[in-house]
Symmetry: C2
Subunit: 86 residues, 2 copies
């Protein structure tokens, strides 16, 4: 599954649209964010996507976890959020 | 229900302990964060609390939403996270 990568500069409404699109197509989305600004945008995006998807009959929830990712050869701790219907 | 208020200076493990305690007692916790640093700490706390609670047989999920709160007479937009068993 493609991971939706979010940065602190990502627009939360754009990320929300991406999450909603992936859930409508595949039933489940995965979001990844590194750093406070990115995690904030990702969380806001999930809240917005919830609104979009509620209108389509999906009651989505979020499951956050930690994951180690490689960024330019450096190991970084990212927040991974699985978004899927309850 | 008491709301667990998180700031950017909150320790995520402490917040996680508070979330786990409230869920064990009442089955549901509500977390509130204003600003990127606070939302980041709150999200990390949910990920950590998930680990604590999984050992107790709870599979908790998170439902983020926006809410308006009054801070010193000023209206601010906060992120509210409901944490409860799936």
């Amino acid at each position: 599954m493609d991971i939706i990568k979010v940065s602190g500069k990502s627009r939360s409404t754009s990320v929300a649209g991406a999450i909603a699109g992936v859930i409508r197509e595949r039933g489940r989305a995965e979001v990844q964010a590194i750093g406070a600004g990115a995690v904030n945008q990702a969380t806001k995006a999930v809240a917005i996507a919830r609104g979009y998807l509620f209108q389509d009959g999906f009651n989505v929830i979020c499951i956050p976890s930690f994951t180690e990712v490689d960024v330019d050869g450096q190991e970084r701790t990212a927040i991974r959020m699985v978004v899927e219907p309850r």
